[in-house]
C-alpha cells in the first residue's frame, strides 16, 4: 500500500503517522532538555553514542517488526540473542574456525525461529505462548552449554568489537552501527520491495483475504518468525561490541537484564507500524488470533 496512493484517496495520512510523529516529538523534547541542561550534550558524538549503545536493540526491533506486522509477537528474541553469544563463545572455545562458528550461530537462531513459526501456524497455538516457551527453551539451552560465563578470545571477534571508524566531523562509531543500519536498510528493502514483504503486510491486514487472494500466507507467517530468529545473532554481534570489548562478551553481560523481550519489542510499538498495520481500529490481537 503506497502512502501517496492512500493520501490521494483520503486525507488519512496524518493519522497513520501520528504515533511516529509523537515519538519523534518526545525524542526531540528530551534531547532538547538535555542540550539545554548539560554542556556539549548537543554534539554529533552523543547522537552517535545513541546508535552505538542501541545497535543491538535496533537489530532486534527490526526482526520484531516483521512479526508484529503479521499481528504476532516474539518474546524469545532476547533469549535467542543470549543463546547466540553462548554458541559463538562455546564453538570458538572448542576450536571451530570463525566463519563456521558464525554460520552455526546464524543457523541455530533461524532454525529456532522457524520451528516456532511452524508451531504457531500449523498447530494454531498463540504466538505469545509459543515464543514464551521459546524464550524458556533458549535460556535453558544457554545454561546447558555452560553455567559459567565464557570469554571470547578470538582476535577477529575482538578486532570487530574494538574497531572504530572516525566519520567526518570527528564522530567515532563502532562497526556495530553499520551492522544495525545495514539491517534496517535490508528490512526496508524486503518489506517494501519484495513479494515476501508485501505478503507480510497483507497477512497483517487480513489473513483470510490475503489467503483468498492467493498470496502465500503460510510462507509469510512462518517466515517472519524465521526472520525474527535470524536477527538476534546480529544483535548479539552488535552487543558484543558494546558490552565488554576487551574480553569479548560474556552471557551475563546483558542477557540477564530483567526483561529483554519487552525492551526489544517496545521500540516497535509506539513508533512502528502498530500491531495491526492496516485496520487501525483493531486491537493488537485482531485478525490472526480470532477463533
Amino acid at each position: 500500500m503506497s502512502t501517496s496512493a492512500l493520501a490521494s484517496v483520503r486525507p488519512r495520512l496524518p493519522q497513520r503517522f501520528l504515533p511516529v510523529v509523537a515519538t519523534v516529538v518526545v525524542f526531540a523534547v528530551t534531547f532538547g532538555i538535555g542540550s539545554v541542561r548539560y554542556q556539549d550534550f548537543a554534539s554529533g558524538q552523543v547522537v552517535a553514542n545513541l546508535f552505538i549503545d542501541n545497535a543491538f536493540l535496533i537489530v532486534l526491533a527490526v526482526g520484531m517488526t516483521f512479526v508484529i506486522l503479521t499481528g504476532g509477537i516474539d518474546l524469545s528474541v532476547g533469549a535467542v540473542a543470549a543463546l547466540s553469544t553462548m554458541i559463538a563463545a562455546a564453538t570458538l572455545r572448542a576450536g571451530w574456525p570463525v566463519l563456521l562458528s558464525v554460520l552455526a550461530v546464524l543457523v541455530s537462531g533461524t532454525v529456532l525461529g522457524l520451528l516456532m513459526g511452524l508451531v504457531i501456524h500449523y498447530f494454531d497455538v498463540q504466538p505469545f505462548i509459543v515464543t514464551l516457551a521459546g524464550m524458556f527453551l533458549a535460556r535453558g539451552l544457554c545454561f546447558l552449554i555452560s553455567v559459567e560465563s565464557v570469554s571470547i578470545t578470538d582476535t577477529s571477534f575482538r578486532d570487530f568489537a574494538t574497531g572504530t571508524v572516525v566519520l567526518p566531523g570527528d564522530v567515532t562509531v563502532t562497526y556495530s552501527v553499520f551492522v544495525a543500519l545495514a539491517v534496517v536498510a535490508a528490512a526496508v528493502y524486503v518489506l517494501h520491495l519484495t513479494r515476501f514483504g508485501r505478503t507480510v503486510y497483507a497477512v497483517g491486514g487480513n489473513e483470510t483475504s490475503a489467503r483468498l487472494m492467493g498470496l502465500p500466507t503460510t510462507r509469510a507467517k512462518v517466515g517472519v518468525y524465521a526472520v525474527s530468529g535470524f536477527a538476534p545473532p546480529w544483535a548479539a554481534c552488535c552487543s558484543r561490541c558494546t558490552c565488554s570489548p576487551a574480553t569479548g562478551c560474556t552471557r551475563s553481560a546483558w542477557s540477564w537484564t530483567p526483561s529483554p523481550p519487552w525492551s526489544s519489542a517496545a521500540p516497535c510499538w509506539p513508533a512502528g507500524p502498530a500491531m495491526s498495520p492496516v485496520p487501525r481500529r483493531a486491537s493488537w490481537s485482531s485478525a490472526p488470533y480470532r477463533r
Binding site: 498447530f123 505469545f128 514464551l132 521459546g134 530483567p258 517496545a266 510499538w269 488470533y289
Partner: protein, 334 residues
C-alpha cells in the same frame, strides 16, 4: 468443548504428580499436625495461591481480549506498602486497606489507558510493569523491609487446616465464578472480548466492563502481593512477584482460555495454575539440575499447548476424512 479442552491440562497435572510419586514415594502423603494439614500437595496449594489468584484476575482481562503485564509490579507495590506501613508502626488492617486501595488506583489507571484512551493493553500495562517496580523501590528505599507481625504473617503462611492463602484464592475464584456464571456478567465480558464494537452497539457498556476487569486484576494482584510478602514477612521490591505475570498468563492459556478473548474458563484457570505450580515444585522435588530447569519447563508448556491444539485433536481422533468440515473450522480458528 471446555471439558474436552480440560482433558490435557488435567492429564499433564496427573502426569506431573505421577512423576513425583515415582521419584518420591511419599509425595502424596498428607498428615495432620497441630491441626494443620501437611504434605507436598499442601505445599503446592500454598505456593500456588498467589499465581492462582492473579490468574483469576488475568482470566477476566484476557476474556475481554486484553492482557495485564503489570500484575507482578502491582504485587510488589502491595507488599511494599503493607510492610513499610507495619514496619513504621502502623496497624495491620490499615496496612491492608492502604495497600489494596493503592492497587485499585493502579488498576483504575490501567483501565483508563485501555478503555478510555484506547491504548493497546499490552503497551498500556507495560508502562506500569516497568515503572511499578521503581515505585516499590522508592517505598522500600531500596531495602528489603522485614516485619515482625504474626497477624500479618497469617495471610501468606497461616493455616486453618488448609493454608489461609489458598482458601483466599479459592474463595475469590468461587466468588468470581458465581458472580459471572450465575448472572449475565460473564456473558457480557465474553461479548466485549468477542467483538467490542458489536457488543457496544448491542447496548453492552463495554467501556465500564473493560475498565472494571483491569481494576479487579490489580486488586487480585494486590492481595497476591500481600500473600507473597506475608509468607516471608518481608517486602522485596525487586523480586516479589517477578515473572508472575508470565506464570499467570501461562496458567490461563493452559486452562483453555484463548488470548483472542471472547470466552474463558475459570475451572481451566484453576487447573492451569495447579499445573504451573506443580511443575515448579516437581523441578525441585525430583532434582532436575538447575541448569536444565528452564528447558524442562519449556518442554512441558509446549507439550501441553500442542496437545490442546485443535489440529492435534484431529490427528489423534483420526478424523482426516471429512474435509468439508475440517478445513472450515480451521479457517474460523485461524
Amino acid at each position: 468443548m471446555i471439558r474436552g479442552r480440560l482433558l490435557w491440562p488435567l492429564a499433564a497435572l496427573a502426569g506431573l504428580l505421577l512423576l513425583n510419586v515415582v521419584f518420591t514415594h511419599s509425595f502424596l502423603e498428607l498428615r495432620i499436625q497441630d491441626g494443620h494439614l501437611y504434605g507436598s500437595l499442601v505445599d503446592i496449594l500454598r505456593n500456588g495461591a498467589p499465581t492462582m489468584l492473579i490468574a483469576v484476575g488475568m482470566t477476566l482481562v484476557i476474556a475481554t481480549r486484553g492482557i495485564d503485564l503489570s500484575v507482578g509490579a502491582v504485587a510488589a507495590i502491595a507488599g511494599a506498602i503493607g510492610c513499610t506501613w507495619i514496619a513504621d508502626g502502623g496497624d495491620m488492617p490499615t496496612a491492608l486497606l492502604l495497600a489494596l486501595a493503592v492497587c485499585v488506583l493502579l488498576g483504575l489507571w490501567n483501565g483508563f489507558l485501555v478503555s478510555v484512551l484506547g491504548i493497546q493493553p499490552i503497551i498500556a500495562t507495560l508502562v506500569l510493569m516497568t515503572a511499578g517496580r521503581g515505585g516499590a523501590m522508592l517505598l522500600t528505599e531500596g531495602q528489603i523491609v522485614t516485619v515482625e507481625s504474626s497477624a500479618y504473617r497469617q495471610i501468606g503462611a497461616g493455616f486453618l487446616v488448609l493454608p489461609i492463602a489458598i482458601l483466599i484464592s479459592l474463595a475469590v475464584l468461587g466468588g468470581v465464578a458465581l458472580l459471572t456464571r450465575r448472572t449475565a456478567l460473564g456473558m457480557l465480558i465474553e461479548a466485549v472480548g468477542a467483538n467490542p464494537e458489536a457488543s457496544k452497539l448491542a447496548g453492552v457498556r463495554s467501556r465500564t466492563i473493560t475498565w472494571t476487569v483491569y481494576v479487579f486484576a490489580a486488586f487480585c494482584a494486590g492481595v497476591a502481593g500481600l500473600m507473597i510478602s506475608s509468607n516471608v514477612s518481608a517486602a522485596d521490591a525487586n523480586n516479589a512477584g517477578l515473572w508472575i505475570e508470565m506464570d499467570a498468563i501461562l496458567a490461563v492459556v493452559i486452562g483453555g482460555t484463548s488470548l483472542a478473548g471472547g470466552r474463558y474458563s475459570l475451572g481451566g484457570t484453576l487447573v492451569g495454575a495447579l499445573v504451573i505450580q506443580t511443575l515448579t515444585t516437581t523441578v525441585y522435588s525430583i532434582g532436575v539440575p538447575t541448569n536444565v530447569t528452564l528447558l524442562f519447563k519449556a518442554v512441558v508448556v509446549i507439550t501441553v499447548c500442542l496437545l490442546q491444539s485443535p489440529r492435534t485433536a484431529r490427528i489423534i481422533g483420526g478424523r482426516r476424512k471429512p474435509p468439508a468440515t475440517a478445513p472450515r473450522s480451521r479457517k474460523v480458528a485461524a
